[in-house]
Amino acid sequence: MAAPKSLSSVAGLTDVTVRTGSGEFGRALLDPEAAPPAGLVGPDGKAAPKRFNVYRNNVIVSLSEALGQTFPAIVSLVGDDYFNALARAFVTRHPPQSPVLMWYGGAFAGFLESFPPLAAYPYLADVARVEWAWLQAYHAADAAPLDPAALSAVAPEDVPAVRFTRHPAAAVVASKWPVLDLVRANRFATDAAAGIDLDEPQAVLVTRPDLEVGVFLLRPGGEVFLSALLEGSTLEGAAASALEKTSEFSLPDCLSDCLSSGAFTAIEGY
């Protein structure tokens, strides 16, 4: 490559070759209105904005695609074109903080919630929360789930005070919206979207007892009960919190659901 002539050789000045810092380069990557950084040239030694735009495009498109792979139900709900614009807005405001892209997108649900053009679609954020929990469960540490029969080894008088160890993949998403129906219809396409009642609140447990991520519907009060258990409450304390929330809460049913779906790995102390 022929080094472009610096002005010094022409005018006898000291070296005025432009140095291009990665701070300036990075800012211009994320700001489509910004001029390309000075000091970048084509083969003729002249500035070449179209060449710089290849990098800009690679960054925005590859990160938008990564988001689309993490949030396919959101893509399906808003459509490809809208998603691309949405992803571009998110990527430029919230670039990844790590080269590990399976950890990129944790702020997307909050972004959807506060993005004014989407104010009429308040359920999108919770759908994104389920999809984020799904990805984290997919990559979580492997752990054998607690044998549902294990509780029978605990002396009856000790049962109210038991605490469970959270499965590394387990997370609860509680919503005012039918998140499970929305995720199913738009991510797994197993159910028709037509029958979804937008007034139905749903809460789900996302976990991965073995290789398959499962998304399980929680019964009334189940989200309070399971969230409390995952945060380390005793069985008795978690049940009391759930009953405070709703009289429909059924301890035997909810406990049985949590045990059979793989929310825990152990009973503490056993």
């Binding site: 810092g21 083969p43 003729d44 960054v59 590859s62 903080q97 080269p99 590990v100 979580a140």
Partner: protein, 298 residues
């Protein structure tokens, strides 16, 4: 290094990457590869896709590693960056090297992180003395932390830096001299960069320090044009290897002898048989080069 007596590790394929053709591993191909027991030299993965704690990716990669040698290719370390390497990321790379015992470990002459922002692209490095020192320091740190020699891949670039004071080849040669690292020769990148900067790929390859090369990459690129209507090739990895790149490859292996060769296809990933056909095309060239009498005396 690894827990002795672990049955999964005892039954693994040999780690050494042979001078045969391999493919970039894509999750959607794994079931077919394992079912067919595909006859292929090795697989290569992007390290960052296996940095989760557990789950299907690690199960699948261990299954592949049982049957095939593995090459570990990092894409996010930002060796060409202005700032210090991300220590946590470097530890994750070291951990993957211990866990999977890859036969080769490589990264790029590029940067991708500034402050805390990760750009997910291989961004260009100016070829001046300050950048050379930084890159060499970073490679020293990588090789010390990971405990092995790494290969550094030549970049595909779209712009040149006014501040550059040396050629890409002098920059690469000096890196290998100072750090002892090897090189990953991406021949598609050579074709892309030489076209984009209006240089001769043949001249570039004739001067490339082939004795340092431990692996070759081949991939597809997309044609475009620059501001002045000149050809601008984009390193897209989204299609078959171009005829011009095959020709350059043939000449490299004819002159140098066979080297482990990877087909990269990362976007618009085709069905496995399509990718495998590219691998076989590279393998045929390697076999011809290995036949005595056809290889030019050095």
């Amino acid at each position: 290094m690894f827990s002795e007596g672990s049955p999964s590790r005892q039954s693994r394929a040999d780690a050494t990457i042979p001078a045969h053709a391999g493919a970039g591993l894509k999750p959607e191909h794994i079931a077919e590869i394992l079912a067919d027991r595909a006859d292929i030299g090795f697989f290569e993965v992007h390290a960052e896709n296996y940095m989760g704690a557990g789950g299907p990716p690690h199960r699948q990669l261990e299954a592949i590693r049982q049957d095939y040698p593995l090459s570990l290719h990092g894409v996010g370390l930002s060796i060409g960056g202005e700032q210090a390497l991300d220590k946590a990321h470097l530890q994750r790379l070291a951990g993957l090297n211990r866990r999977y015992e890859p036969g080769l470990f490589s990264e790029h002459l590029a940067w991708s992180t500034h402050d805390t922002a990760y750009f997910n692209d291989l961004l260009p490095v100016p070829y001046d003395e300050a950048a050379l020192e930084r890159v060499c320091d970073h490679i020293d740190e990588v090789q010390e932390t990971v405990g092995r020699r790494m290969l550094l891949e030549n970049p595909s670039t779209y712009v040149a830096f006014e501040q550059s004071t040396m050629s890409e080849l002098d920059f690469l040669k000096e890196i290998t001299r100072r750090t002892g690292c090897g090189l990953l020769l991406d021949i598609n990148n050579v074709h892309v960069s030489c076209t984009n900067h209006q240089r001769s790929a043949e001249d570039y390859l004739a001067d490339f320090p082939l004795n340092a090369v431990g692996e070759i990459h081949l991939g597809g690129h997309a044609p475009d044009t620059d501001d002045a209507g000149r050809p601008l090739l984009i390193d897209a990895h989204d299609r078959e290897v171009d005829d011009a790149v095959w020709k350059l490859y043939e000449s490299v292996v004819r002159n140098n002898g066979p080297l482990p060769t990877l087909i990269e296809w990362d976007n618009d990933v085709p069905a496995w048989p399509v990718l495998f056909a590219e691998v076989r095309a590279a393998e045929r060239i390697l076999v011809q080069a290995a036949e005595p009498g056809l290889r030019r005396a050095v």
